[in-house]
Symmetry: D3
Subunit: 133 residues, 6 copies
Amino acid sequence: MPIVPILSDEDAPAASREVFEDIRRTRKTDFVNNFWRALAHDPALLRRTWESVKEVMAPGALDPLVKEMIYVAVSATNNCEYCICSHTAAARAKGMTDQMLMELLAVVGMANETNRLVNGLQVPVDEAFKPHD
Amino acid sequence: MPIVPILSDEDAPAASREVFEDIRRTRKTDFVNNFWRALAHDPALLRRTWESVKEVMAPGALDPLVKEMIYVAVSATNNCEYCICSHTAAARAKGMTDQMLMELLAVVGMANETNRLVNGLQVPVDEAFKPHD
Amino acid sequence: MPIVPILSDEDAPAASREVFEDIRRTRKTDFVNNFWRALAHDPALLRRTWESVKEVMAPGALDPLVKEMIYVAVSATNNCEYCICSHTAAARAKGMTDQMLMELLAVVGMANETNRLVNGLQVPVDEAFKPHD
Amino acid sequence: MPIVPILSDEDAPAASREVFEDIRRTRKTDFVNNFWRALAHDPALLRRTWESVKEVMAPGALDPLVKEMIYVAVSATNNCEYCICSHTAAARAKGMTDQMLMELLAVVGMANETNRLVNGLQVPVDEAFKPHD
Amino acid sequence: MPIVPILSDEDAPAASREVFEDIRRTRKTDFVNNFWRALAHDPALLRRTWESVKEVMAPGALDPLVKEMIYVAVSATNNCEYCICSHTAAARAKGMTDQMLMELLAVVGMANETNRLVNGLQVPVDEAFKPHD
Amino acid sequence: MPIVPILSDEDAPAASREVFEDIRRTRKTDFVNNFWRALAHDPALLRRTWESVKEVMAPGALDPLVKEMIYVAVSATNNCEYCICSHTAAARAKGMTDQMLMELLAVVGMANETNRLVNGLQVPVDEAFKPHD
């Protein structure tokens, strides 16, 4: 039940269709998923978001699989079903096994738990952890 | 301004001091940070949390540096200052460079952004991303 | 799959039916949506929530359309599907276009992103932004 | 570093001073804490919030100590330092011991952990837990 | 649409089936709900989570019904449908009435509201609420 | 206590200094606030974030004051002190009065409250609010 229609190539504005083409070229697939088709109502938002994702998720000091797993960790913390499904699929395509997924979620769960123990007790940061004097 | 006193070794219950000793043995350091000293008011909570952290953060299908970075990603999403500082320090001790940290946070920021674009538009999950029929 | 039954006028307690009548008078419609019908199990909670919403969302220093858009911004941040749908509908009824919605969500996404960049780097507040000495 | 000045009795609008007096009468103390003094810039917001808190936190089907502990649980989940401190103090004044606080936070931590395990795995609700057919 | 298959007793690893048996013995029922069947892909995660839940939710300084209601409060704050449904069911089985549920949610709503009023105004903690000098 | 040093013009990489210059030109001020000076460690992240903020916050279908208030609404929901301070200052510079701020926060508080009432009761979306058949 999307808030705005999911646009087909035919219904998307020309400026958004151009972004669809770059998505296809970059990912070497004809498939353009619903996220981009919803953003396509606003070509500026679509282009900006796609350019940013392309740059952020590219290989760098971190490898793309680690980046996808971080994406899943954030999405599970925020409970975004779409992003959990799409980035888990992307991480698996890059080599994440079921065991890696389970360990990833174990860390996510533990961090969410200890974050709240710290909050509830208002634990002060140790001098040893302070990054700059 | 902690909610309960941060316990020194002397003030901690005997059962909590035993956990402190295991922390020292496991981490090969005399340092026991404030998080454990706050939990020490409840030896059962302290022991359970420490045993879980020890198991979850150990090498497995994911390496410990990746696990620390996932911890930072969750803590930055939840804005837990203590956990951001302590796990950034831990990740650096395991080899995370400044450039890796900046890329990690770029992914965290991007995921938090696109999670809300998806929410606001209620984008339906593509068939291709559905894990099981 | 509601946790408590959605109450029809017939099944609602008399004190809750009175609130339904005020909703109808105020909004000039016979329609009473599910949110109020779920709260109707607790007439005090229903009355208090309705009186507050009526007061908060009325014209004031901010116009009602801006208030509806702020409601959507919070609901998208929290991923509350019901509130996203109902307040997007309310904002549209007050004049929000698709382009306004897309710009609203672009700001929501950007704020959620930069909030986490700030968290992860623990950026100190500039003197120039401190409101009171 | 409050965003608006914390208002003394002298500086508060007359309509807000009236609410201060009701806070004093209800709580049988001369002390009016900063939260109300910040809201006092907007007498309508102050009155509405105080009336709601007074009603919600009063004895009912749940006793006031349980209500204070639920308040702490939510505030620790959201990391609201002010509310953690003020409602922990209120809960202690109503009889919460340190052991009760530690158990409360253990549940809060566990719930935040399992919420994310469920999210990350998108576990479907069992038929047995569905409240209505 | 779970991310990993929900495992039947037959398909679960032997080490996970042992945990299922402990769940059955402890709860005096043959029913093992989907949460445990999803975790069963990782016997270590399953065992650790079950042992922790069993310990945390047992009678202590807080009674089990209060603990279940705190679980519901956190899950409603985080919007975890599965946990809302399962822990509301558990609380009802321990004696929570509809009126208790409505009051619980009223406190949850109020806390989520005042947390944000405090955030937005950056209200400083009163000296009287500071736990330690 | 920032995680990375806040970079002066002298210490920032040349590519980041160029972005500082664009910030100065665009905002017609010599002041470059700490957020950008922290991001300056990663010129690509700095440039991308600044270009996006510049585009998103510019006048469009929504006016810049409304956009700043939406930014404040999200930041108060997430409790990001830096963003609350900086965007409240920006909104005031664009004409937001104290009364407008108080009404804005009243809506933010109310939305955070009703979001959780809806979650806790799992209220189904009314047909009338469903955007597309």
